[in-house]
Amino acid sequence: MPDSPAGGGLPPVSIEFGSVEWREEVERYDRRSPARAQAQSARKTIETGTAKLDWKRCKADGPDATKLPGCRKLYIPLGRQGASGAPYGFVFQLIQKPDDSLAWNMIAFGERHPANERTRNVYERAHKRLHGHYL
């Protein structure tokens, strides 16, 4: 399901879930875990285009020193906002494909505010995917 840019005149941008990223981000969770179920449900909704997506921009200089230029995010479950109502998030990077078309490519999935302080949040995971290392 493509994302339709606001303002008109711009071509729709596809939303993609690469198999490597999906395995590393979502399938690291147990098959019966709520996180994995929520990610699968959100992906299905995104791909069928049955919901308006409440995108937010990621920060090039985030509050935990994460640097996510060129990225947007969706909170999961879709349609919810608060940390308790939507405890997970997808981060997407805008990419240019070999045919020069653009796509939002999922680069990270995880908890927004992990209760376990040793757990990396979704922004830290996205930073590591983009930059190859944690802060």
Partner: protein, 62 residues
């Protein structure tokens, strides 16, 4: 040692720093640059991102 990979039960894990000055292992995260090289993709330009995201808000998270 940090950045090395180990395979346990058929899954790849990477040695990464923990938050207490030590190290731990976690499932590997393939760098985006490596995936771009394999797929022939690249990060879109800042202009393209701004063109598509001008009306998209920030919040107080990352």
């Amino acid at each position: 040692m940090i950045g090395e990979f180990v395979e346990i039960a058929g899954r790849r894990y990477e040695v990464v720093p923990d938050r207490e000055g030590g190290v731990t292992i976690e499932p590997a995260i393939t760098p985006a640059a490596q995936l771009h090289a394999q797929r022939g993709t690249k990060p879109a330009s800042e202009d393209d991102f701004e063109r598509l995201s001008a009306d998209v808000p920030y919040d107080d998270e990352g």
